[in-house]
Subunit: 218 residues, 2 copies
């Protein structure tokens, strides 16, 4: 992942901020109003020192002996991570995975709103997607125009491997600055574009490798 | 991710092996029979020294001045990563994401065969899944029995956050040794179990954070 303006913060620390926020969002409706760095660390398998260090990159949020105000920290983390606003997102590719991503509620909860959906298959173009407030599938050739018109800065790529680079280039040429790539291929993007890949089979492969050293349990 | 028997190999190196293999599998049908560490590195944005170092953990595969035999290296990497065999996998949770994962062809290509599917919703139980050779959805209460009967060592969790820990514990109690978790929650698993989480919203959030420092391009 390329870094565009937050050079001093290690990437793993930023990733942990997302995990802190996720945990706090889960417990905020509970009775506790505060949480200690130890409690927050324990929920995520981290030390209290790690939690304090990560948060200290961004300011002084906690109070000694009391901990962090949960509501306050949720707000601070959202502001830091940029999910205190709505981001317009394009979804490209409407195969099985694309359909699942279109229906995934977790994006909107974080402020990521899929405002345009594209596919290269003419038979899908024009179809309204009930899971996305009936927005209509557009042909990929309309990508550049729509990216600008809807001010889309993030794109989710769920296209076949052989199309991924071409579509990524179309995205970045149009002004997209961040790409979440589900195609099983490495993408070359300009240095001012951020790209993150999720290869589901590779994830399983990594688990399998770790299992090779141990016999089955049955 | 916990490590169970391959302590000396850094996790990032193992992850890069997966990327090397993925690239080699894509180009193996081409005309080239060999590939240099420089070419392999360039395709993935790595230096040739990194490629050589990663592969050297596992043996001496290349020849100076010639490079690596592509077919040979594919075989070696599959053996190293454990994808030279078929792994039986359970898929748990048949919401939108679970359905997409059931239909995802990339798992089987890597030797990961979904041999059992579970859900807690009685209305889904007994339904045959055409995308998985018509295997029938089982109730989650049959998990332990089926894990043993079908020798399932890997599980994919696509259940709601509030169910994830309970299901993970059922899996590990039954003998599952690796869990790929799509629920947006951190799981506690025994030390001899490997767990890897994919939180799709967190991935986008991380991209958004990197974009905060740069203005929109339109």
């Amino acid at each position: 992942m390329k870094d565009t303006g937050s050079e001093s913060i290690p990437e793993p620390a930023v990733k942990r901020l997302s995990l802190y926020l996720r945990h706090l969002e889960r417990i905020r409706s509970g009775s506790a109003k505060t949480i200690s760095s130890r409690e927050l660390g324990e929920a995520l398998g981290l030390t209290d020192a790690q939690v304090r260090k990560d948060l200290a990159y961004f300011g002084q949020f906690g109070q000694p002996g009391i901990g962090y105000q949960i509501e306050d920290l949720v707000g601070q983390l959202r502001r830091i991570l940029g999910t205190d606003r709505v981001w317009n997102v394009a979804l490209i590719g409407l195969g099985n995975l694309g359909r699942a991503l279109a229906a995934y509620k977790g994006f909107l909860k974080k402020g990521f709103q899929i405002v345009a959906v594209f596919d290269a298959d003419e038979s899908k173009v024009g179809r309204a997607l009930p899971e996305l407030e009936s927005i209509k599938v557009q042909h990929i050739r309309d990508l550049a125009r729509t990216v600008v018109a809807k001010r889309i800065r993030l794109a989710i790529l769920a296209v076949p491997a052989e199309m991924a680079q071409e579509v990524a280039t179309q995205c970045t040429d149009a002004g997209v600055q961040g790409i979440l790539n589900f195609a099983p291929v490495s993408l070359a993007v300009p240095s001012d574009v951020t790209e993150s890949s999720v290869d589901l089979a590779v994830q399983l492969e990594q688990l399998a490798f770790r299992l090779l050293g141990s016999p089955p349990k049955f």
